[in-house]
């Protein structure tokens, strides 16, 4: 089997960008009003990935832990920011809660996988740690966004139910339970769907990437299974932490619903 990697030349890249031009043309034809968005997103992708490519190139060459940790911090920062931009009405201490949850949820799971499972040597080996953490943080970000959005919606729409429970002598945790479990369910749906459809509906990105770069398909499959478990673990732990730390912020210290 041929395991040499086919590099893409600048000309190849220009050729594929012509496909984006076609999309812009089609969007224009249907008056979808997305031509500008497509153009700028395409350009942003090019610049962002080029920068990331050079940064990774540099970090791989440096072989020290500090730049790796720096990159992970930036990733977490962006993830928290993105979750924040998704919800209009934020619970009190939003950033502190989400930041802590992502740090422990994603950090914990990634650390678990890298040290206890694959036994990374050195522990910060950027070739593994950065892409793995990226996938874990990215997916947890999506799950956490869904959870905080749903939690806010539940507290808005189910005020009556929650207050009725409080008026009957319920603790805040029991009164909030339906809202919290609904938010948790929302966060986990993408992971459940992805695992169930894996290999049938689509070949997942990481596995495809590994196969394209010459990895034996069976090894790629094992990695994919492992990373899906890590991702699902991280999504659940991150979401769990956000919900446990966050639901109380909808209540006053004397255990009634906040008014706003």
């Amino acid at each position: 089997m041929n395991t040499t990697i086919i590099d893409l030349s600048l000309w190849d890249l220009i050729t594929v960008y012509s496909l984006l031009l076609m999309s812009i043309g089609l969007a224009h034809l249907l008056k979808a009003g997305q031509s500008k968005d497509l153009f700028w997103s395409g350009l942003r992708m090019f610049v962002q990935l080029l920068v990331v490519g050079y940064v990774l190139h540099l970090v791989f060459a440096l072989e020290t832990a500090l730049p790796v940790l720096l990159i992970l911090t930036v990733m977490i920062g962006f993830a928290v920011q993105t979750i924040g931009s998704r919800v209009q009405v934020k619970m009190p201490h939003f950033y502190r809660i989400v930041g802590t949850a992502i740090l422990f949820g994603c950090g914990g799971m990634t650390f678990f996988f890298c040290t206890l499972v694959i036994g990374l040597e050195p522990w910060y080996d950027p070739r593994y740690l950065i892409p793995l953490a990226g996938m874990v943080i990215g997916n947890s970000m999506t799950g956490a966004s869904l959870a905080v959005e749903r939690l806010a919606a539940e507290f808005r729409e189910c005020r009556e139910e929650i207050e009725t429970a409080l008026c009957l002598g319920s603790s805040v945790s029991l009164a909030a339970e339906p809202a919290v479990s609904s938010a948790f369910r929302a966060a986990l749906i993408p992971s459940i769907n992805a695992m169930a459809a894996m290999g049938l509906v689509f070949l997942p990105g990481m596995m495809t990437g590994q196969i394209l770069s010459g990895t034996e398909p069976l090894i790629a499959v094992k990695y994919q299974i492992a990373i899906m478990c890590v991702i699902t673990g991280s999504v659940s732990l991150t979401t769990f932490l956000i919900l446990r730390l966050g639901y109380r912020s909808y209540f006053t210290p004397h255990q009634s619903l906040r008014e706003d």
């Binding site: 139910e161 207050e163 409080l166 009957l168 002598g169 319920s170």
Partner: protein, 254 residues
Amino acid sequence: MPLLQARAVSVSRPGEAGRLQRVLRETTVHVDAGEVLAVVGPSGGGKSTLLRLFNRLLEADTGEILLDGVNIRTIDPPLLRARIPLVSQKPFLFSGTVRDNLQASARLRRSVLPDLNDPERQELLELCQLNPAWLDRDARKLSIGQQQRICLARALLGPCQALLLDEPTSALDRPTADLLAQTFRELASRKNLAMIVVTHDLRLAEYCADRLALLLNGSVVEEGPAARVLSHPATAEARQFLSLAPVENGETTA
């Protein structure tokens, strides 16, 4: 000593343009066991705010509320709320059967579920005019009047000493409201409950209350036996309010 009393409670809430507005001004009311107190007044006069202070859904800025002589701030809110449940204007039922709803209070307090067939509970359901044949029906499919009766029985099935009722009949038609008013009366005397009914409906007050407190702009302007205040108000403010207030239910909304 009254079972439940508010002593000089004041509350300010953010009103229009975020400015603090005084909703209650050193308001003092009390209610004894077995007695129904109606707090009457126009919408926005602070009635619901006052009611919500008694089970700590809201906290007063100054003043104190005593249950059996004990400041309620020293009582754990869930315990307090089980002892002084609040039934709101619009009945809210949890999804499930009537039985599920009647047992909700115990379930939410992680307590043993009450046996609805024991004679004492049967009597309570009867007092609330709940048909035992409804127990296994979908609670949310019953009429609003029946739903409000379920809310009432649900609140009373806990360790209830006093009951707070916030415009309890405003979602009901007149005959249903009148029947429910009689139910409140009977429950208070038979179960020796202290009851505070907040309403703008003078007929409800007349039908069920022993005493009446008229709350205007956050202050009690007149208080006394319900029949006397309604027929011979002593103050000018009370006379003016009573001459304008609707006697029929549903004419104004709270």
